[in-house]
Point group: C2
Chain length 592, copies 2
């Protein structure tokens, strides 16, 4: 059975050595000193390792069951939920006015990493509630906020997002669920939603569904979509629960993974709902919480990689097989541990460098969200909006790849259920699909984000990289191992952007055919930048005599691996991109 050790030292390194959050000008960050974040992460880590992680395999094996309209979650989930709620984890970064803890989103991201690594299917219930609450917080009326937010932050109620229907996932303009206005100001919601995570379960007293639907007579397509709040139980004025609403779970999806999370068909049969925000502006309401939601999926990508890596590493240290080619390392034993073998190292270093780079990138993203939300910083908002599809698409692809690599470290044991690595592969796979498939992320990146603001934000990104390189080039070791490869990779990214500008204008297919490679090219540059920053921070700590030299040296060595072995992928992606649309679009659909 797999284990999980909270990587708190690594988390603290990003928070304090790299991002130096306690010195930040973001309101609320001044509280986040080393001791405080350490205490919070330790507490979260205990729940993650002792409560959630042991339930991960249980959830996978038992799955959820639908019995007479009620979804039974796996054994132990309800107790774990209560412990999470009692610990105050449900509203850690929520407004104190509604019962939240008022902490920055970054801290919620760091604790979320622990919960997600320990039990992704469980943490999804938490994450969905968080997302629904964020949408209500941003767009709901005061009354809606007062009604729904405190019980969600207390963990008494949970939330869901209802977008997908059988005929539409990506193309939400095709939504058929209708919302008919009633005389009392409410709406009658009728239609079917599918793939609704946490749509129904037995862990909370009420479930607050946020539902996209069309008000008859409104504009066609996505311009006619509105957002509604539809509670499972209607809520009386005093906050107590009233009648059961006309919404029910019509079935559970059988899936490849995340079995502990209930993926529901939700039937709305004239359910009572209330408009959230303005009519026909539902898509806009969804988009304001998109960055947060997609960042949390990016996090799922590397966290599954992280727990998989930990278990691969443990196996590689224990398993005796073959001898070190440079001489026996454990002559007293029948064979050496397989970690001595270069190809096992290559595999582990790929995993390690992706996981740690991914963490740095996601924390930086969370910091930008805080900067945007807490300071109204438009540049931070533009930058995180540009980078979100990269983070979601690249890190979930790479996170999945990491689970596959970790599984491979175990050889045949990796394929057995007993060792548990295969569950990480199956669970991580969904992150490439939901919250907008990674193909859609790449279209969002190239079609919307890249050209937005007349390209100002991508130029700002290049300037930031250039500035960082210039500022640090005096350090010869940093220059050779990190800045030179970063510069080359960033140049590849610029060439690709230039290609899109020149050739995409002539023929949009030239840009769209390269969108996926562009997303990966961009992701590598981001991770290259993160590793350069981590190396700099580690060197500074070494220079300052911070102690724990092995830890900082290991950071630098891992970063050098990334720069030497992962970053060369940028040239390949550039070559694919600049080959253009011709070979991609050559076939008639009939000739495939």
């Amino acid at each position: 059975m797999p284990t999980f050790t909270p990587p708190i030292k690594d988390q603290q390194f990003i928070l304090h050595d790299v991002l130096k959050i306690a010195d930040s000008d973001i309101p609320g960050y001044d509280e986040l000193d080393r001791d405080f974040t350490s205490a919070v992460l330790e507490e979260a880590g205990k729940i993650a390792a002792n409560v959630l992680q042991p339930l991960n395999a249980v959830g996978d094996r038992q799955g959820c069951r639908l019995e007479n309209g009620v979804v039974r979650t796996p054994e132990g989930f309800k107790d774990a939920w209560t412990q999470m709620a009692d610990g105050g984890w449900m509203g850690l970064d929520a407004d104190t006015r509604y019962g939240g803890q008022g902490m920055p989103h970054l801290l919620n991201t760091a604790t979320g990493e622990l919960f997600s690594a320990a039990n992704m299917a469980f943490q999804m219930y938490v994450g969905l509630s968080h997302g629904a609450a964020s949408a209500l917080y941003a767009h709901g009326s005061d009354q809606q906020k007062e009604t729904y937010l405190p019980p969600i932050y207390e963990g008494r109620w949970t939330g869901t997002m209802n977008l997908t229907e059988p005929q539409c996932g990506t193309d939400l303009g095709l939504i058929r669920t209708k919302a008919e206005p009633q005389e009392d100001g409410s709406y009658r919601i009728t239609g079917q939603k599918i793939w609704i995570s946490a749509g129904e379960h037995d862990m909370a007293d009420n479930i607050v569904h946020l539902v996209l639907a069309k008000i008859p007579g409104g504009p066609d397509g996505i311009k006619g979509i509105s957002l509604f709040v539809v509670p499972k139980f209607l809520v009386n004025e005093d906050g107590s629960l009233g009648d059961r609403n006309g919404v029910s779970c019509g079935g559970l999806e059988e899936k490849m993974g995340i079995h502990g999370n209930a993926t529901c068909v939700m039937n709305y049969d004239g359910a009572t709902g209330w408009l959230v925000g303005e009519a026909h502006k539902g898509m806009r309401a969804m988009f304001t919480m998109m960055n947060e939601a997609r960042l949390s999926v990016a996090l799922q990508g590397y966290t599954q990689g992280e727990v998989a890596y930990q278990n691969a590493l443990g196996f590689a240290r224990d398993r005796l097989q073959g001898r070190d080619v440079t001489g026996a390392q454990a002559p007293e034993k029948a064979a050496d541990p397989i970690i001595v073998h270069p190809d096992v190292r290559r595999n582990l270093m790929d995993q390690k460098s992706i996981v740690e780079g991914g963490r740095a990138l996601v924390y930086w993203g969370a910091e930008m969200i805080d900067r945007s939300q807490r300071m109204g910083d438009a540049e931070a908002e533009a930058m995180i909006s540009l980078l979100i599809p990269v983070m979601k698409g690249f890190l979930t692809d790479k996170g999945f790849e990491t689970t596959v690599l970790a599984q491979q470290t175990l050889g045949g044991s990796g394929f057995t259920r007993e060792w548990g690595l295969e569950q990480f592969v199956r669970d991580a796979r969904i992150a490439m699909i939901y919250e907008g498939t990674n193909g859609i992320q790449s279209l969002d990146l190239v079609g919307r984000k890249l050209p937005s603001n007349g390209g100002k934000t991508i130029m700002a990104f290049f300037e930031m990289v250039k500035g960082f390189v210039k500022e640090n080039e005096v350090d010869a070791a940093l220059k050779e191992g990190f800045l030179d490869p970063l510069k080359a990779a960033s140049k590849d990214l610029q060439s690709a952007a230039m290609y899109f500008m020149q050739e995409g204008v002539k023929n949009p297919l030239n840009a769209l055919s390269g969108s996926y490679d562009f997303m990966h090219l961009f992701g590598h540059v981001c991770l290259g930048l993160m590793w350069a920053k981590m190396a700099k921070a580690a060197q500074e700590s070494l220079d300052a005599g911070a102690g724990d030299e092995e830890f900082y040296r290991t950071k630098i060595a891992t970063g050098r691996y990334y720069m030497a072995r992962q970053l060369p992928a940028t040239a390949m992606h550039l070559a694919r991109i600049t080959s253009g649309a011709e070979t991609v679009m050559a076939l008639d659909a009939a000739n495939f």
Copy 2:
């Protein structure tokens, strides 16, 4: 539920347009004209599509059950087995002296493609029997061959290979199973073997286990391993079944995939066995059938990609979502089929070009095995031995990637069990692990195969590529789209080999740290060569007015995609390789 359509036209293209087998000098190939192979493939295709494919999901869901020592295979498997046996498919390429059909291995590979694509878990029972029979055929005594081969080729009995033990998979020198000589010339076999595919089941009257074990007092390590035949039921002189032997199934492994195949713990409790070949030469006996066995796993890689691609393609043609950016293609419908979108094309073209390239490579491999076995051609034997780790490692990695891409084509549907794509992902995953993990393949390639014959065989490979390029450069279209990129990729491979020669001599870690990338670099060059050959053959057919122009044009267009979009990976692998061992080996094991 997924479907499978036998790709007979594509198979015939490789056999007759590319390999031109009917004109070959290999004994037995003269029978293989277009009509004959078409008839055989049609028959095999019927069984694959009508009998095996419908059982694929059944096998996945039901799995195998161990009841009182007896393994129950999924419903329908036994009937399917009987149909396969009655059709003569079990001994298609086996010696007619023992009841086989005497056909070339290439034809068995082509029919095996259909069975494997339709139901990999089922076909494994067939494949294991084939492997065991091949080992007996090569190393058994006449009496052993007469006893065991006819019932296996008739499908009345099956076979297994018993290598792995709890403490050793890769490092077989650690084997503990012992074989004590008895006075009657037999041996008492005692020990435990794990992960024995098809180790016990209810489809055949007897199971012929081939078991690696050590005769007490023999040499240490792998030099002291011998091969034994241990039937489940002892065989009387007249061929009838006698007493049950002391071998039994002690448990079934719970696995990520291939649930229809029984993965057994096999306990040998003083079982009676007989030496196959010479004492202490068991590893050599295994190696002679390794090429065939590993080629059949390479085939599993691309066949799972193939059936996954077929279903992804069907979905992409049917699913309506979004509009073609260049103008609506289905204005009468609510949206266009998603195959219009460039990123969906990119995804499908990656799948298609890998699957069709993989087929060409595996058929070429099977032809080399025939040339080696039927003509005693030492150069063919050397070449296939060099290429086998590339075929196994590269095609199973790429085949798995293809199933993941295909799953992605379906978006959320790809994650559900209902659509069945996720089973292909889970089943394909094992091919990267068994028959020697892909890491081990890369070590075999770089550590053993590359330097063997003083590098003569790899030089012959380069000469072959060079010769093909030179011979065809007059064709300007072939040169630009195929030969130039092939030349560049082959140059990258040469540079990598040169790096290993120069730097690997100084420090073997420099070669071993790049082995995995070398395997992939080599694989891309092989597929590039295959696509250049396919393009040439397609152009020749077009020039000859062979009809079906769309088919041949599509081959050329798919090949051009591969050369433009996949082959640039070679430069990335070269860059990883030439970065050397330093970053790979930088960390102490304790610092990971």
